[in-house]
């Protein structure tokens, strides 16, 4: 939901170098059915936390929908899921 400016700020503060996309109108958040209506500050709509691992064919190979907003996907689990995907020859 953050604008590219806010995300840019976060990236430079946190040292993130991966592609960081903004969805200020929650279009993709809605398409992925992740909109948390009134879940943000002052009852604004935000995204619920969720993680998807998508393989080269565009197929979802691993997902994580947390049951508690404080608990997020573990880096170890995400790495293991990524390693389980066979490398496609190209």
């Amino acid at each position: 939901m953050d604008t590219p400016e806010v995300s840019s700020n976060l990236c430079s503060k946190s040292g993130y170098t991966f592609p960081f996309l903004s969805d200020p109108k929650a279009e993709v958040i809605r398409r992925y059915d992740l909109l948390h209506v009134g879940g943000g500050p002052e009852k604004t709509d935000i995204s619920r936390p969720a993680e998807f691992l998508v393989d080269a064919t565009g197929t979802v190979r691993w997902v994580n929908f947390t049951e508690d907003i404080r608990l997020r996907a573990k880096s170890d689990d995400m790495l293991a899921a990524a390693k389980a995907i066979p490398q496609i020859q190209n």
């Binding site: 993709v28 992925y32 059915d33 992740l34 565009g58 929908f65 508690d68 990524a82 496609i88 190209n90």
Partner: protein
Amino acid sequence: MNQPIPAMGAMYQRRRNRALFDGSVVMVLAILSNFPVLYALNFPGQGLLPWISLALPAISVVFFIVALKRAFGQPEMYRGKILGSILGVLSVLLFAGSILLFQHLKDLPKSAAAPQVGQKAPDFTLNDTGGKPVSLSQLLATPIDTTSGKAPKAVLLVFYRGYW
């Protein structure tokens, strides 16, 4: 044969109400268990933290019930009527607050229509931090490792609540 007579003060000295101390320690631990840093760290059993934050206040309430039973039931033996009452009320408030917080943090949309394992992830295009449009299909096809020139095995999509 000269038995010392215990002083009156010592004879009627009341015992420390140990449950008051235990309940207070558990109450402090309950508050600490909510610290965000615990969720930023990576350790086994982290998934139990929300339950621990709910259970600890309940345990502290039990300790204060014991403490108050002693203080009011055997006042000749135990101290802590006033302190126990104050801490007891605080622990009940903390427990009530913990229940509300527990429910609030788990109050998430069902996301029943979200892509599941085996399904195609819907393609999309969004702007990156530089304002440049980037699509999922583009990310899946763009080599990260420029030396091998190979497209990535996969892309990890992380949706978060905005800034956190």
